[in-house]
Symmetry: C2
């Protein structure tokens, strides 16, 4: 009988469950819109429903545990969702204990960005590396760090809040209130906002044609740049410069073997690569300059795959009798 893990990806919009085996093969998968306003009890009932569904699809798998990716901040050790901004009523929810009682299985919790980083590390673009930084650039900028063969947690699992490193003393305030966060300067939203500012409805620009004269998004800018539009190309170059400055910081701070870029804006990496490379060459200290920057391999599946691998890693560690705590 094939060993498998339940993987849950608890998003503010979509709730997904899968049964995944040790090799990373998805044996079964099911999805529904998250009842984000229904509170924890309703979402827990949805999880029960979805896991029954995937169980029915793969009745032969021997399920050895549950891995959950959920919005942070959360405490991965205590198994508690501290405050999920996109889920009403999710304050200090002991999801680990609740699911463990319900399923009679060990439960492993990780924030969604970390789960995706682990997924890419175990099964995607980070395979084989000891240290990676996974960066996802879409509405915001998030990420996760694998350092020396382990996910970087820090106090309360709050490390690697990379979107909120200050890289400038200028620009629009971030949603967090601060000026100069990487996210405020280099997210897909920031790119779209610049596209909106640079144009106006009905001006005949390619950007506004793509946005049907509405607000321009980061994806529209990348699409227009790909079509050769000069305005969009300038915006993409500026985006690449801000991304490059942040990448240099990540290189200096974490010294990964690979930088892995995911999220919607990663689709434009080919267009941005020359300016990113230029920025890294100009700003990173020599020993950091040759670190590869690669596109994430698992797309939207990274979180589910990472959640599953939490279960398998924990079972391997249990056999090996835990960490030595050495330097």
């Amino acid at each position: 009988m094939r060993e498998a893990a339940f993987a849950i990806d608890l998003g503010g919009t979509e709730l997904r469950a899968a049964l995944i085996d040790r090799a990373g093969d998805i044996l079964a998968c099911a999805t529904m819109p998250t009842d984000a306003k229904g509170g924890p009890a309703s979402v827990m009932a949805q999880i029960a429903m979805l896991t029954r569904d995937v169980r029915d699809q793969a009745p032969d798998a021997a399920v050895i545990g549950l891995g959950v990716g959920a919005p942070g901040p959360l405490d991965p050790v205590a198994g508690i969702v501290i405050a999920a901004p996109t889920l009403t009523g999710w304050r200090n929810v002991p999801i680990g204990a609740l699911l463990s009682a319900q399923f009679g299985l060990p439960v492993h919790l990780e924030n969604d960005a970390n789960a995706a980083a682990i997924g890419e590390w175990r099964f995607g673009a980070g395979r084989g590396a000891r240290s990676i930084v996974f960066v996802t650039v879409s509405t915001g900028i998030g990420g996760g760090v694998i350092a020396d063969g382990r996910i970087l947690h820090g106090r309360q699992g709050l490390a690697a809040e990379i979107g909120h490193m200050t890289i400038a003393q200028e620009g629009e305030p971030c949603f967090c209130g601060t000026i100069g966060c990487w996210e405020a300067l280099a997210s897909g939203s920031a790119l779209g906002r610049r596209g909106t500012c640079m144009t106006r409805a009905g001006d005949g620009s390619i950007l506004r044609a793509l946005s049907a004269n509405g607000a321009v998004s980061g994806r529209h800018v990348i699409e227009a740049a790909r079509m050769g539009d000069a305005q969009a190309r300038a915006l993409v170059a500026e985006e690449a410069r801000w991304l490059g400055i942040g990448f240099v910081n990540l290189l200096h701070l974490y010294s990964p073997e690979r930088l892995i870029l995911g999220g919607g804006i990663a689709n434009g990496l080919d267009l941005m690569r020359p300016v990113i490379a230029e920025t890294i060459a100009a700003r990173a200290m020599p020993p950091y300059r040759d670190v590869p920057l690669v596109v994430a391999a698992l797309g939207g599946q990274a979180g589910l795959m990472g959640a599953a691998s939490l279960v398998f890693s924990a079972s391997a560690a249990a056999h090996d009798e835990g960490d030595t705590g050495g330097v």
Copy 2:
């Protein structure tokens, strides 16, 4: 017989050796000016001389290994000093293998900032924490990170180059060539430079009185601020703001339980604390705001203590049979 470790602190100016026991007690210590221009062979001979000296002072100790703190970049796993900027001829020196052959003992190498971080963690202001960031602010800004109970290495041991994170797009170029490095904005040198710019020789200012009409140093600024000088107080507030912005980044990126401040500028922490606290309250996300910022406890001994603890941790890890490599 008491188990002890040889600890070597290989600095560009001073070379120090000690015998330190498991409790962190220094059984013997010896120092000489580093023959920085003499090349590796000469410095190795100096190390042999100093260790003989401390051995003679504490003949009863049972020496179980050597720990070395040396200027980076270096590869702590391979035991190689890659390129020490302050030591002539130190390129790819396999100091680990050389010392191990000479002493017939296991040798553990760590860059000097990491060694100091480990020292503070094991024996100083970081005791008992699982995650700390040690920041040393003097001529430059350096540091080391303990993350989840281990020193953070990353690729080639190059993580935690915290002085060279970009926090602004303004200011004097850093010695590394980049604009906006934390070090260029917030080091003791930057503070002194601002003091020098703000005054001129013979202007009757307290700053120039303290500097005997020469260039003003960071220490002069702190001293003048302590005397109530308004110019110096304004400079100290500006310094505190830049330090605070960098601390916020470290909180978001590493999520330590404690920030530990060492180096000459740490002497002014009491003066800077109000503005640092204000900056952290204004810019850090809520769950990071209450992390204590404390002064380093070991001063110039941190590196030696850390070097010794490399030996004891490695011997403990050998008994426990290594790391599981789990998530």
